[in-house]
């Protein structure tokens, strides 16, 4: 399977199953597109007629042979032989948990109406995780991590800084046990910024591998949703804190993470605002909410969003040329590295190697399923007891979804988000079609960007 497309002046041919990428002129593009379905003599004749002023049958025959050589070398029209391997990685690492999302606070000091976690409460009661529950969660992770060395723990909420003392105590506990356990904890803190102060900054810069800072971009966009309980916008209060935070990180990982909604399908303006504020590691996510929610993206928004993704990729190339590069989370593609095929077909890992822990110690397949009682997997004292649900997540891979089998982007999303699929279709093995369309556009842009950058390095 190939995916040919044209973007930003490039004719790009992706060989889906080998991961090979070819940049071609328009004649080669037509030749490759017609290669499999049109007999050689017919295809050459048609292209010789179409491009009579640019080429001739000899050149076309030479190019045809080149395409055949690429096919024989496993770089074009590579068949998908991966399906039998789909469950193997999960089977091999069955029972191994490598990451927990600790919901240290089901409370929040902001009241954002678009919050998938319903203002931090996850459709339940307000709650704070105790040190004892958090400590047991860390022990549970170590006990179930097998030979895995790097263990990842996210402090999430709600607003995790509303329980900062427990966060600090849990990190201290983790550091006290990791050497003897032969493990290394990598912590991430996701925060809305309201409680960021010098102590938080020092702590996070010392202990957190990554911080995710919530900012939606333009003040009027941010303050439309991200308000306190009195209805006051938070932009003015958090932006200076985030600027100090990022400056003090001294190059350590962070993402400025925004959400775009029906209110700002023109989200590139928000990315521009983030850049103007001095931030360079950016993520901008489509809102996750019910289709009848006023903030939900509509069909009319889609072409605007698609165009914004293209303009974003062009802006990144422009900023590269100016020596002012920036990162967009979804456009980070390492063509020569990146995940192996097992990772690409295994699904996201929710419910098997990654779980969320509620403030009272229940386990859920991921943070987005918290509050959906039927997805409760068990708890951190007795472990997973709901094997029926866990088996469903274990079987969730790219080949478990019929729509994915014919999608060219399947090895870049690994079948997509189980929670998005569930909320869109009622099944974790469904597909969230709107999200898939946006994802495919993002990958087209990301691949174009990576290709353009590689070409520039070669020249």
């Amino acid at each position: 399977m190939i995916h040919p497309y044209k973007l930003n002046g490039y004719n790009i041919v992706l060989d889906v199953c080998s991961g090979s990428i070819h940049l071609v002129d328009e004649i080669a593009y037509d030749l490759i597109v017609g290669y499999e379905d049109t007999p050689r003599t017919e295809l050459i004749a048609a292209l010789a007629a179409k491009y009579a002023d640019k080429t001739n049958p000899d050149e076309l025959n030479e190019a045809y042979d080149q395409v055949t050589a690429l096919k024989d070398a496993g770089k074009l029209f590579t068949p998908d032989n991966y399906e039998p391997m789909a469950g193997q990685l999960k089977a091999k690492t069955s029972g191994v948990i490598k990451a927990l999302c600790l919901h240290v606070a089901h409370v929040c000091n902001l009241n954002c109406s678009y919050c998938f976690a319903s203002q931090g409460k996850y459709h339940g009661d307000r709650a704070i995780m105790s040190f004892e529950v958090g400590k047991r969660a860390l022990d549970f992770l170590v006990e179930h991590s097998g030979t895995r060395k790097n263990l990842e723990v996210d402090f999430f909420g709600g607003e995790p800084l509303m329980n900062f003392q427990v966060v600090k105590d849990l990190v201290a506990y983790a550091r006290s046990i990791e050497q003897a356990a032969g493990k290394h904890f990598r912590f991430t803190l996701t925060t809305n910024g309201m409680l960021v102060d010098d102590e938080v900054i020092d702590f996070a810069n010392r202990e957190c591998h990554n911080v995710v800072l919530s900012l939606d971009g333009r003040k009027e966009i941010h303050d439309r949703f991200r308000v306190d309980y009195a209805g006051n916008g938070s932009w003015e209060r958090i932006v200076p804190k985030f600027q100090r935070f990022v400056e003090a990180r001294g190059g350590k990982g962070y993402y400025m993470r925004g959400t775009f909604t029906h209110a700002n399908p023109d989200f590139l303006k928000d990315i521009q605002t983030m850049l103007d504020l001095g931030f360079t590691e950016l993520s901008m996510e489509p809102v996750v909410c019910a289709p009848d929610d006023p903030s939900a993206l509509t069909e009319a928004d889609k072409p605007i969003v698609m165009q914004q993704y293209e303009e974003l990729a062009k802006l990144m190339l422009e900023r590269d040329r100016e020596g002012r590069p920036f990162t967009f989370y979804h456009y980070m593609i390492d063509l020569t590295g990146g995940p192996c095929i097992y990772k690409r077909i295994s699904g996201c890992g929710s419910g098997t190697e990654y779980m969320a822990v509620t403030p009272w110690g229940d386990l859920y397949p991921c943070h987005q399923f918290v509050g959906e009682e039927k997805f409760r997997l068990g708890d951190i004292w007795t472990g997973v007891t709901n094997h029926a649900i866990q088996d469903q997540f274990a079987a969730c891979n790219v080949y478990a979804r019929e729509e994915c089998k014919s999608c060219w982007a399947r090895l870049y999303c690994s079948g997509g988000c189980a929670a998005n699929a569930y909320h869109a279709t009622g099944k974790i093995t469904g597909t969230y079609a709107y999200g898939c369309e946006l994802f495919r556009k993002r990958m087209e842009c990301a691949l174009m960007l990576a290709a353009a950058r590689q070409l520039k390095l070669e020249n």
Binding site: S18, A63, P286, G338, Q368, C413, C417
Partner: protein, 46 residues
């Protein structure tokens, strides 16, 4: 001259040979939290 430029990419078929170590990050954890993409993740073995 008809142009076909093949970029340097990781060969996914070859990457099947070591069987996958599983050391890499889970997909949206530590980052976006609301959508699954694996293409932007690092291989811990590279």
């Amino acid at each position: 001259m008809i142009q076909i430029t093949t970029l340097e990419t990781r060969n996914l078929c070859e990457s099947a040979k070591n069987g996958g170590c599983g050391e890499c990050q889970t997909s949206c954890q530590s980052a976006c939290k609301t959508s699954c993409g694996i293409a932007n993740q690092n291989c811990e073995n590279k």
